[in-house]
């Protein structure tokens, strides 16, 4: 069984009466690429801040590499590379001086590795941060978070301000780190980039994890989408119990199966066979749709 690299148990963090995150349970194995998905304000950054020891958990526990995220925070960070969601660096730094300074603080030479990464990311290390564009600063932040070859990478929306080419290079770098045994915790609010990189994903919404599985499991768990187009001038019958409708007009019905059980599928087919329908489509949704369902969670029109 793979070693658990990042572990949280019933992790809860509140801001007074405001919601932060509640009951977050994560068990991320070493060497995995783990996506942490959710809309803005869902609690992704709060979770990361607790993991990095900026915030103390209100309840529950969080550990990285077996060490407590609050008590052993500085020991953890020796093995962690992190990039905050809204990266700001000291304006007087250049890429070179940043590598030297961070290496000195970390107590190890990261200049050579940093230069290699800068070549990959196409970053001129002689430019001062105050003269850098947002994308350049993001690249420097990523280089600084990876130059010490950390065992765990915690990245809060790391592709912000990166062009598609650099996003692709970053993904390659992260895959290489994961192949070398490092754990990548990748937070994002867009499914597409998580889908391209991660093997496993947790979807967080309003401070709680609403799904945590591999992408293929997520796809398999998703209920079929159903679209029925009625013949013109026909009054459709009442929908069967197996069908949960989101749209219901005299021309078209759209919805999902109530569950993935075979019985429900048969029930739907039997219903459709007896109806005057012009067209019917029963399909598995793509990941984006699944993701949006978790985001939106719209009330279905009762069956």
């Amino acid at each position: 069984m793979a070693t658990i690299s990042i572990n949280t148990t019933a992790l809860t963090r509140t801001y007074g009466s405001r919601r932060g995150v509640s009951d977050i349970n994560l068990a991320i194995p070493a060497g995995s690429l783990y996506g942490f998905l959710g809309p803005n304000g869902a609690g992704k950054t709060t979770t990361i801040r607790v993991l990095l020891g900026f915030l103390r958990a209100s309840a529950g526990s969080a550990s990285i590499l077996g060490m407590d995220c609050w008590r052993d925070s500085h020991r953890i960070k020796a093995e962690v590379g992190a990039i905050p969601g809204d990266l700001r660096l000291w304006p007087w730094l250049t890429g070179h001086s940043a590598l030297k300074l961070f290496g000195r603080i970390r107590g190890r030479d990261i200049v050579a590795r940093g230069r290699e990464l800068a070549e990959v990311m196409e970053l001129d290390l002689s430019v001062k941060v105050r003269q850098m564009s947002r994308g350049m600063r993001q690249k420097l932040g990523l280089i600084l978070s990876m130059a010490h070859d950390p065992k765990v990478l915690i990245l809060d929306e790391p592709t912000t301000a990166l062009d598609p080419l650099m996003q692709d290079r970053l993904r390659k770098l992260l895959r290489a780190r994961a192949e070398a045994g490092a754990t990548v915790f990748f937070s994002s609010h867009t499914l597409a980039e998580v889908e391209e990189l991660c093997e496993r994903v947790a979807i967080v919404k309003q401070g709680q994890i609403v799904a945590d599985s591999t992408l293929s499991q997520l796809r398999a768990q998703a209920v079929h989408e159903v679209m029925i187009t009625w013949k013109a001038g026909v009054m459709p019958a009442e929908p069967p119990a197996c069908l949960r409708l989101a749209l219901r007009t005299n021309e078209q019905w759209r919805g999902t199966l109530a569950s993935e059980s075979e019985t429900h599928l048969r029930e739907l087919l039997a219903f459709a066979a007896a109806q005057p329908i012009a067209d019917i489509s029963i399909s598995r949704p793509d990941l984006e749709t699944i993701f949006m369902r978790y985001y939106d969670n719209k009330e279905m029109v009762g069956a």
Binding site: F54, P84, L87, W90
Partner: protein, 279 residues
């Protein structure tokens, strides 16, 4: 203590510290050049207005200046005049309100806290960097005094030049006042997270402390100042007493040292235990 962090802090404050040291050097040099002449003229007079005497006593921490030499009074004034004290204390406030408040406001605190250094280590490193710049600023004051004294007119130089060893003792006393103000600024910045508010709170408290000194000297019968006297920072800073006697003001300096140490430890505990983030 982390040398990389000390280097980072020094890089952040070197310009402000150099500029402030230059200002302190210049003002002190001017005062230490001019005050002996003013004092020599003053001492030729048989009558010193009551207001002037009270103001002088107030900035001397209530120490009576009767019988003091030109050098003692002149240098005591130069070393306790608000124009000299303000840039010195402003430097303490400027440097000590950076972490975490200024870093939080600038958004760089997340990067700083993501480094593999404990909060205590970060706090100690920040303090060491501060003390190094403090040594520069306070050294500039002593240097300014020495420089200014070189231009005192030859006819009064013998009576208008202080004992430099005693002036060094005054510098230590002032250094302790500086430490109290700096530690107070650090406490506010750790509690508040907003630099402007931290600066404002420290300034208000420091000015209140100075006001208590002045009000008490001007009207010792005031009940309000009697009860608040313990907060009067100038009561613990006695340049004239040190210059006259050449003795350490042990009680006052112990109070200043223990106050700054207490503030430093309390701030460190809060800094190590509290939640700190950009938003």
């Amino acid at each position: 203590m982390n040398f990389g962090l000390i280097q980072r802090s020094l890089r952040e404050v070197w310009f402000a510290s150099l500029a402030m040291s230059g200002i302190v050097f210049g003002i002190t040099a001017l005062f230490c050049y001019a005050m002996p002449r003013v004092q020599a003229r003053f001492m030729q007079r048989s009558f010193i207005p009551q207001g002037v005497r009270q103001f002088r006593d107030a900035i001397f921490g209530g120490v009576d200046s009767t019988g003091a030499s030109i050098a003692e009074v002149a240098f005591a004034i130069a070393w306790s005049h608000p124009l000299v004290l303000v840039p010195i204390l402003a430097h303490a406030i400027l440097v000590q309100t950076r972490v975490p408040a200024a870093e939080v406001e600038r958004g760089t605190i997340d990067v700083l806290l993501a480094l593999p250094v404990s909060r205590w280590n970060l706090y100690v490193s920040e303090t060491v960097a501060w003390l190094l710049t403090a040594a520069l600023t306070l050294g500039a004051m002593y240097g300014g005094a020495y420089f200014g004294a070189q231009f005192i007119k030859p006819e009064i130089r013998d009576v208008a030049t202080p004992d430099w060893g005693r002036l060094l003792m005054v510098l230590v006393n002032l250094g302790l006042v500086y430490m109290v103000v700096g530690c107070l600024a650090s406490l506010f910045t750790t509690l508040i997270d907003r630099r402007t508010w931290a600066v404002l709170c420290t300034l208000v408290l420091t000015l209140f402390s100075l006001l208590v000194s002045f009000l008490h000297t001007i009207d010792p019968a005031l009940e309000f100042t009697k009860s608040m006297r313990f907060m009067s920072i100038l009561d613990y800073y006695k340049p004239l007493a040190i210059l006259r006697s050449g003795e350490w003001q042990v009680r006052d300096m112990t109070i200043l040292l223990s106050t700054s140490l207490t503030l430093w430890i309390v701030t460190g505990v809060i800094f190590a235990r509290r939640d700190i983030t950009t938003t």
